[in-house]
C-alpha cells in the first residue's frame, strides 16, 4: 500500500535542494517498494505526458459546487498559489473534519489504473460524489499528491536524469543502459520495472528504443587553442532533433523529447521504408522551402508536427526534409563506440548507396548535413556570422575523435550560435506568473514605437534575476494604469533590451512581426522610453538577416 509512501517521497524530494540527496532518497524508495508501485512512481515523476483526469479549471469548479464555495474566492487564492491542485488542497483543510474517519491507504496502481480512469465515464453528479468521497477518505497530508495526479501536474524537480542515476546506483549498472531502457514510452507495469532493474542485458531488449541523444555544449573559448583539423564543422539547424530508426524493416521517428511522431510525417516513413538496410540515424527534421532552398519558419514545423495524419495538400505545402547528422547503428551493429570520423564515413558511404539505388523522391527528403571547412578559427567566426544567410542559427563543432555518449558530456560537441538580434522595447503589460512564480508579476509584454504610438511586439518571461523580478514586481504594482483580470497595463516608463533568434512577418500580430525565443537580456535603466526602438528598426532587422 503506498499512496502514503509516495506522498512522503514527494515531500522529501520537494524539501531537498541537493541532487545527491535526491538520488539517495529515490534509491531508498525504489529499494523498499514494490515493483508495480515503482513503475507508477517513475511514470509520475518523469511523465511529461501524464494523463490528466480532471483539468485544473474543473477541479476548482468541482470544489466550488461540492462545498458551495465562491469560485471567485478560489481564483483569488490561485493568484497567490499558482497551482490549482495546491489551492484545492489548502482549501480542503477548511472543509474536512479532523481525523475521525477511518482512512485507508491505497496503491498507486489502484488509483491510476482503476479509481481515476473511472471518473471520466461518470456523469457530472456521480463524479462530484466520487471526488468528494476520494477527498474525504484520504488522509489530509496525502491530498496534494492526489490532486496533482488528478490534474496531471507533477513537477518536483526530479528529472529523468535523477531517476536514471538512482536506478543505476541501485542495481550497480551503467547509467547508459538505464537511460536507454527509459527511452521512448515507459508503460508502467510490474514487468517494465523488472526489466528496468534487470542486471542482465539482453541484446535485443532495446531494439525498439531510440538511443539517448548526445547533446552539444555551449561553445568554449579554450577549444580555439587546438588545431582546426581536430574538429568537424556543420550548420546548426533550427528544427526538431530526431532519431530515425529502421529496425526489422519497421520505421520509427523519435524526437529528442521522446515522442514517437510517425503519424505526423507519413511521407518520411514511406520513403525510408524503401531503404533495404536497417539503421539508427541522428538528425534534424525541417520544413523546407525548395524554391529558395532554405528552411521555413519553426512555427510551421510545429504546425506540421501537431497535425496527425496530414493531408496530401499539407504535405505538399509544408514539405519536410530530414538532415542526417550521425550514424548510431547499421544493420544491428551499434556504432556509438566508433569515433565520429569513422561514423561519418560509414554514413556517407551508405547514404550514397541508398540514394543511388532508389527513386528521386528519397533524395528530396533525405539529406546529409553538409560539412563546412573553415581554414582557421578566424574563418569559423565568419561562417558563424553568415549563418543566418542559409537559415541556420550558427555552427555545431564536433570533436572528430569523439564517441557518441548520452547527454551533455564535455569535450565532444559544441554549439556556436550566432549572436541574437536585439531591440530595446518598452514594458506595457504585466501578467501574474504561475507555479513557482505565483503572486509575482513575471510575464511581460513589450512594445516598439510606430508613429508616436507604442505597439506590442513581443512577450517574454525569462532573463531577469530574482532580485530584479521582485523589484520590477513592486514597480508594476505602483505603476498600474488598469487591471484586466490577471493582467495589468503599466505606465510606459521601463525600457528593456529584448534578444531573439529570428524575426518574421506575421499577420496574426498587430505589429506585423513575430520573433522567436524572445527574452530579456538587460534592464535598460539608463534609457528613456523615447530611446526605445521603432517597428521600422525591427523591419530593417528582418530585411538584413
Amino acid at each position: 500500500m503506498s499512496l502514503k509512501k509516495f506522498s512522503e517521497l514527494f515531500i522529501d524530494l520537494d524539501s531537498c535542494n541537493s541532487k545527491n540527496k535526491k538520488i539517495g532518497i529515490l534509491q531508498n524508495y525504489f529499494y523498499s517498494n514494490e515493483a508495480l508501485e515503482n513503475s507508477w512512481t517513475i511514470y509520475l515523476l518523469t511523465g511529461k505526458k501524464n494523463k490528466r483526469f480532471i483539468s485544473g479549471r474543473s477541479l476548482k469548479s468541482l470544489f466550488s459546487e461540492i462545498y458551495e464555495y465562491p469560485l471567485w474566492l478560489i481564483d483569488s487564492c490561485y493568484l497567490k498559489v499558482g497551482d490549482s491542485a495546491e489551492v484545492i488542497t489548502l482549501l480542503l483543510r477548511n472543509m474536512i473534519p479532523g481525523k475521525n474517519i477511518k482512512y485507508q491507504d491505497v496503491s498507486l496502481d489502484e488509483l491510476l489504473n482503476k479509481s481515476f480512469p473511472e471518473l471520466s465515464i461518470l456523469k457530472e453528479d456521480d463524479k462530484k460524489l466520487r471526488v468528494k468521497e476520494i477527498w474525504e477518505n484520504i488522509p489530509i497530508e496525502n491530498l496534494l499528491v492526489i490532486n496533482k495526479i488528478l490534474t496531471g501536474t507533477f513537477r518536483v524537480g526530479v528529472s529523468i536524469g535523477l531517476i536514471t542515476k538512482s536506478i543505476a546506483k541501485l542495481i550497480n549498472l551503467d547509467e547508459a543502459i538505464i537511460s536507454h531502457r527509459l527511452m521512448g514510452d515507459f508503460i508502467p507495469s510490474e514487468e517494465s520495472y523488472k526489466l528496468l532493474i534487470d542486471k542482465k542485458i539482453n541484446p535485443s531488449e532495446l531494439n525498439y528504443k531510440p538511443y539517448p541523444f548526445l547533446l552539444a555544449n555551449t561553445f568554449e573559448k579554450r577549444i580555439i587553442d587546438k588545431s582546426i583539423n581536430d574538429f568537424q564543422f556543420e550548420w546548426k539547424w533550427d528544427g526538431i532533433r530526431i532519431q530515425l530508426i529502421k529496425r526489422s524493416g519497421k520505421v520509427s521517428i523519435w524526437t529528442r523529447g521522446q515522442d514517437l511522431v510517425n503519424k505526423s510525417f507519413p511521407e518520411l516513413v514511406e520513403q525510408i521504408s524503401s531503404i533495404k538496410d536497417n539503421f539508427v540515424i541522428d538528425g534534424e527534421l525541417l520544413v523546407w522551402d525548395f524554391k529558395q532552398n532554405l528552411p521555413l519558419n519553426f512555427s510551421l514545423l510545429q504546425k506540421r508536427m501537431n497535425r496527425k495524419a496530414p493531408s496530401r495538400s499539407i504535405q505538399k505545402s509544408l514539405p519536410i526534409i530530414f538532415i542526417a547528422y550521425d550514424l548510431l547503428e547499421i544493420n544491428g551493429e551499434d556504432q556509438r563506440d566508433s569515433i565520429l570520423e569513422i561514423r561519418r564515413n560509414t554514413l556517407e558511404k551508405h547514404l550514397y548507396n541508398w540514394l543511388s539505388e532508389s527513386k528521386e523522391e528519397l533524395s528530396n527528403i533525405f539529406k546529409i548535413s553538409d560539412l563546412i571547412y573553415p581554414k582557421n578559427w578566424e574563418e569559423v567566426e565568419t561562417f558563424k556570422k553568415n549563418s543566418r544567410d542559409n537559415g541556420t542559427e550558427g555552427l555545431v563543432i564536433k570533436n572528430k575523435k569523439s564517441i557518441y555518449t548520452p547527454g551533455r558530456k564535455k569535450g565532444l560537441w559544441w554549439k556556436y550560435k550566432v549572436d541574437p538580434m536585439q531591440l530595446d522595447a518598452v514594458l506595457i503589460y504585466a501578467k501574474g506568473g504561475s507555479g513557482i512564480r505565483a503572486g509575482l508579476y513575471t510575464d511581460y509584454s513589450f512594445a516598439l514605437w510606430k508613429d508616436g504610438e507604442l505597439i506590442k511586439f513581443a512577450s517574454a518571461y525569462s532573463g531577469l534575476n530574482n532580485t530584479e523580478i521582485k523589484e520590477l514586481d513592486r514597480w508594476i504594482r505602483k505603476n498600474t494604469i488598469e487591471r484586466f483580470g490577471p493582467v495589468r497595463s503599466v505606465r510606459p516608463e521601463m525600457v528593456f533590451e529584448i534578444s531573439f533568434e529570428n524575426i518574421q512577418i506575421s499577420k496574426r500580430h498587430k505589429s506585423g512581426i513575430a520573433v522567436r525565443f524572445p527574452r530579456i537580456t538587460k534592464w535598460r535603466k539608463d534609457k528613456l522610453i523615447k530611446d526605445a526602438d521603432t517597428l521600422e528598426n525591427a523591419q530593417k532587422l528582418m530585411l538584413n538577416k
Binding site: 474566492l73 483569488s76 487564492c77 498559489v81 489548502l90 513557482i436 512564480r437
Partner: protein, 330 residues
C-alpha cells in the same frame, strides 16, 4: 463611514489616527503622541514626543533601541482618558505585551486589533474577546488558503528535521522577537535533545522575556562560542536578515529552514531558497479573522494591513456585516 465626519479613527499617511484624542496608533512617521500596539519595529517609529503602551511593550522597545524614551505605560484592562476619550489595552495574543486598543467615546466603541492571533501561545497572554461597534482588524493572511497547523505539530516537524540530520547543522530562520521565543517554548515540549544556539538579537529578546517572567528554554549565545565549535546536529536560530549573508559561510554542511505563515504556500517556499519551510504564524488566519469579527459583535468592520480585497468581498456577499473601507486622508 458613509458621512465621513463622525469617524473616530481615521487613516492618514502617518497611520491610524484618533483626532479627538489627538493620538496616532503605531505611526510610521514621528508624531506628537503615539500609542504602540506591540514592540515589532515596523510598528514603532523613533522621534515621537510621547509614547503610550503596555509595560511589557515598553520594556522590550527600550531593550531593542537601547535608549530611554518618553513612554507611559498602562496595564491591560486599565482605562485611561485622553481629551475625554476612554482608552484601554487588551491582550491580542501576537507577542509578549501586544495589545488591542479600545476607544470609547459617546456610547460608541472602536477597537483596533493590532496584530493578533487566536492560537495558543504560552509566551504571551491569550487574545481577549472585546465587544465593539467598530472593528479595525488586521488582515495580513486574509485568504482561506491560510489555516495554521497546531504549533505543537510544527515544533515536532522541526525537531524531526533536526534529529534526522545529525550530520548537519540545522539553521532555522525566524523573527527575533516573538516567533523565536514561541518556537523555543514549543520545541521544549518535543523530544529535542541537541544544543540550541541563538543569534545575539534573539538571545537578548530571550533574556528580556525572562526578565518579564516568561520561562524560555536555555540556549547558547552564538557569538560566544569558540571558533572551533562543532555545530553538527545542533539547531541554530538566526534572524531572516542573515540568510545568504557571509556569516553562514562559517558553518559547514548546513540545512536551512524558515518559520513563517507564508511557508504554507509551495511557490513562496521554493522561491525563498530555504531547504525547508515551517508554517507557523503569530497572525490570525482566515478562520480566526472571521471568528474574531463575529465574537466582537461589531456591526462595522475595516481591514488594515495586507490582503483585504477578498475579505471585503466575501463579507459583503454574506451580507452579515457592514464592511467599510478607509477613505484616504492626509
Amino acid at each position: 463611514m458613509t458621512e465621513g465626519i463622525t469617524d473616530l479613527i481615521k487613516y492618514t499617511s502617518s497611520g491610524l489616527y484618533c483626532e479627538v484624542a489627538d493620538v496616532w496608533i503605531d505611526p510610521n512617521k514621528p508624531v506628537k503622541r503615539a500609542i504602540i500596539t506591540h514592540a515589532h519595529m515596523d510598528h514603532f517609529t523613533l522621534g515621537c514626543n510621547e509614547y503610550i503602551s503596555t509595560y511589557e511593550t515598553a520594556v522590550i522597545i527600550k531593550e531593542r533601541i537601547g535608549k530611554e524614551i518618553n513612554i507611559k505605560t498602562y496595564d491591560y484592562e486599565k482605562e485611561f482618558k485622553i481629551n475625554g476619550i476612554k482608552i484601554s489595552f487588551h491582550p491580542s495574543g501576537h507577542i509578549l505585551g501586544s495589545s488591542q486598543i479600545k476607544f470609547s467615546f459617546a456610547e460608541e466603541i472602536w477597537l483596533i486589533t493590532g496584530d493578533y492571533k487566536r492560537q495558543k501561545d504560552e509566551t504571551c497572554k491569550e487574545y481577549e474577546i472585546v465587544k465593539t461597534d467598530y472593528l479595525i482588524s488586521e488582515s495580513t493572511f486574509g485568504l482561506p488558503i491560510f489555516k495554521w497547523d497546531e504549533p505543537q505539530k510544527t515544533a515536532t516537524d522541526i525537531t524531526k528535521w533536526v534529529n534526522s540530520s545529525q550530520e548537519k547543522t540545522s539553521i532555522l530562520f525566524c523573527y527575533s522577537l516573538g516567533k523565536a521565543q514561541r518556537l523555543l517554548n514549543e520545541i521544549s515540549k518535543t523530544n529535542f535533545i541537541n544544543n540550541i544556539y541563538t543569534h545575539s538579537s534573539i538571545y537578548r529578546m530571550n533574556n528580556c522575556y525572562k526578565k518579564l517572567g516568561i520561562d524560555i528554554l536555555e540556549t547558547k549565545k552564538l557569538e560566544q562560542t569558540k571558533n572551533n565549535t562543532d555545530f553538527k546536529g545542533s539547531l541554530i536560530l538566526l534572524p531572516p536578515a542573515l540568510n545568504k549573508s557571509s556569516s553562514l559561510k562559517n558553518f559547514k554542511d548546513i540545512q536551512t529552514g524558515f518559520a513563517s505563515g507564508w511557508m504554507s504556500i509551495r511557490a513562496l517556499r521554493k522561491r525563498s531558497g530555504y531547504d525547508k519551510g515551517f508554517s507557523i504564524s503569530d497572525h490570525a488566519d482566515w478562520i480566526a479573522i472571521l471568528r474574531t469579527i463575529k465574537e466582537s459583535k461589531a456591526k462595522n468592520v475595516f481591514f488594515h494591513h495586507g490582503d483585504s480585497e477578498s475579505l471585503n468581498k466575501y463579507l459583503k456577499e454574506k451580507n452579515s456585516i457592514n464592511v467599510l473601507e478607509f477613505e484616504y486622508k492626509k
